[in-house]
Symmetry: C2
Subunit: 430 residues, 2 copies
């Protein structure tokens, strides 16, 4: 494919106009001001459009799309214990597959080309990711309050099976990592053994950190004043330098130093942190401390959509209001978080930028819309004015997966029908 006469965000997220971007063998092979003379393949007319790197959703629980809108308006405790956990208990592998495919469709249609997912049902999530063509780093959450050996835990066995079957699948679009759910859901024994395992295997790890004040304070009470970050450091969870924590709303200045020192990254989830009443994470302080921050939607149950454009808008707005400073972030800071930083958190060092040699994970935005007019600052418009609905093409490794409202790998009408059916069945059992 050759994108012709198109606006692009360059590798520094500066706007360049009337460019030619050539995609060959899944990679961006050239970015030029003149049309490559030898090119004879498919062309894409880029007039009135913008080409940007695909968005990377740094934290999600994809099968939870089935819980979208289920239990809204309840307190966090009541939502979790009265609604979500009983619902999840009734979900089958097939339900999880349908929910995942629905979530992937929503993400592809709104410009997300890669996702870091953490959940149960690894077989279902990876199968849907594989079939859809999206990039996905999946990690099967481990939690155990007992002293059962790691190898005997159901979750760990599943994690191993999924890793064996899917890690590296679809030419590396699928990767399987590791996850310890959170400090408060596992015993010191389990966390210690998990740390030993991931350090021995030099593995990528994700976890939830200091999402709510209660979680943060209870950890300190349990562990002689150690915060979740300090406790995880002591337990060796950050040993590989390839860890990231989701949320991090209540982390303290010393936590940020520890994270920066250990190369621990953060998945910032502004919608979810607001909707669940968790708080406003201090992302400016994270960036100032030198931490790599990506942006995630969290599960659809606490958002309630998977639109990374809205998430970028919220990342910008929450930074401004948290600091009482309209200049807290630039739009470029936010775009960087939602693309190349997210890719780095997945260990994908050749994704997230429009740059020669990088993977052709690309998104086309239609700029000819009232809400994107006038074009005072197109880069800023992507963060402050645009929405997922402005995406007209989504490509992963050079393969078009969504174009002008149509999916190339997903039967969306069928999946939507199956999702409603699955929910009816689950609810009938509650």
């Amino acid at each position: 494919m050759l994108f012709e006469k198109i606006n692009i965000t360059d590798e520094n997220f500066e706007l360049k106009t009337d460019m030619y971007v050539r995609v060959e063998s899944g990679k961006i092979s050239s970015i030029t001001e003149q049309r490559p003379e030898d090119y004879e393949g498919e062309c894409y007319n880029g007039e009135g459009k913008l080409l940007m790197p695909g968005l990377v959703n740094s934290h999600s629980h994809l099968p939870m799309t089935l819980t979208r809108g289920y239990g809204d308006g309840l307190t966090l405790q009541s939502w979790l214990f009265d609604k979500i956990f009983p619902f999840e208990d009734q979900m089958t592998d097939e339900d999880a597959y349908i929910g995942t495919m629905l979530g992937i469709a929503e993400m592809l249609a709104s410009g997300t080309t890669s996702v870091s997912d953490m959940y149960m049902f690894g077989e279902s999530v990876c199968r849907a990711a594989l079939e859809s063509g999206i990039k996905c780093n999946f990690s099967r959450c481990i939690s155990s309050g007992s002293e059962t050996p790691l190898e005997e835990l159901k979750g760990f066995k599943e994690a191993m099976a999924v890793k064996e079957k899917y890690d590296g699948a679809n030419n590396g679009r699928i990767r399987v990592d590791y996850s310890i759910h959170a400090e408060y859901t596992s015993s010191e024994y389990t966390i210690g053994k998990f740390a030993d395992y991931v350090n021995a295997h030099d593995a990528r790890v994700s976890t939830h950190i200091s999402e709510t004040k209660t979680e943060h304070e209870e950890c300190k009470a349990r562990h002689n004043g150690l915060t979740p970050v300090q406790y995880f450091e002591k337990m060796g969870i950050f040993g590989t330098g390839k860890a990231f924590g989701a949320h991090c709303v209540w982390i303290e200045p010393e936590d940020r130093e520890i994270m920066a020192k250990n190369g621990v990254m953060i998945a910032h989830c502004p919608s979810s942190n607001m909707k669940l009443g968790s708080g406003l994470a201090d992302v400016k302080a994270m960036l100032d401390a030198g931490i790599t921050v990506g942006i995630g939607t969290d599960g659809a149950g606490s958002n309630n959509n998977l639109d990374m454009f809205e998430e970028m808008h919220l990342a910008a707005l929450t930074a401004s209001v948290k600091n009482y400073d309209a200049a807290a972030f630039s739009a470029k800071d936010v775009l960087k978080m939602a693309t190349v930083n997210g890719a780095l958190m997945q260990g994908r060092t050749d994704c997230g930028l429009i740059k020669e040699g990088y993977c052709a994970d690309l998104v086309v935005v239609d700029l000819e819309k009232p809400h994107l007019t006038p074009k005072n600052d197109i880069v800023s418009s992507l963060v402050y004015s645009a929405g997922g609905q402005d995406v007209v093409l989504t490509m992963v490794d050079g393969e078009v997966l969504y174009r002008d409202g149509k999916f190339t790998t997903i039967d969306i009408d069928e999946i939507m029908k199956l999702a409603d059916k699955a929910v009816c069945k689950i609810k009938s059992r509650l």
Copy 2:
């Protein structure tokens, strides 16, 4: 028009399915479970769709769409003084007309049927509103730090001229009200004379109140500890019981009591309050105090779009995070604010609900989208999952103004071209 077999939000914002809603002479004439037998006119197939009241944007500055994305990432002071004010100084009546029409197009396409606008360029705003068919309460902002008699102020003369020409136009779709910009932009003399005038004319009044902490604290320092609300009350601005203040981020408990007692309403602008770093308004406390709260986008320069669906989402999210309570608001609370409350703030007591006899200001949302699936709670989805792009029909007083991407009264391609041209011209003079 007869909407057939359609989901609706009833007058309590409860979902009703498979309903028949008949529109005659601009009003909702019947809402029934059975098809009206005698009906022979145009039908709208409502399967897979939802009919809701048109959204009311309670606070905007429409010509400022031309400043969308202009000066993003600057501090509030630098944005205003280095960017916005010099830009506005170069705007002509025609520019303001184009900017307004662009804003109206964006609003109609995203489900807004009525807007409370406060700005200069009243002739331009009202002309665009009239031509487009939207409902609009316009008020020409007054501010004067001098002791010039009210009648000699340029703004007041314009306000009078616009009122004379447009108040009640288009069968009352256009209304012209009054506005004093804010406490800090006028002298005690001007505010006093303005209060006398509006009280003598029993007029509807809008103003900005306690948007930033600086504004709030400086008012107290100037006026013996009186907050803007307390000062306005003393000056008689709230005398008619038809006033509303925009923002109200920093109001105090006593302010809320005063507002409730005087029937002063509030236009809540969550995006703008966040983007400009002003703060999170305590809307739960406002509602608990018995104040009528609507939702507004503010100008496109500080948002940067006019999508009331995103504004509803943010109203819900900010309430939860402000109170650290996921149960702070229900989706119904938010829908009520964005519809019937906004209409009440405009003095339109027959708008904002799907109810027999009410104006047919209606919006159709397409529910057959991945991000609105599954249908666990459709009413909740409108607030937490939907976006303006899900709107497929917008009707004001029974007249279809937008349907399936097409405007019936606006040449959108021409307006977008003119908007870009106007901005180039303005910038060439800066």
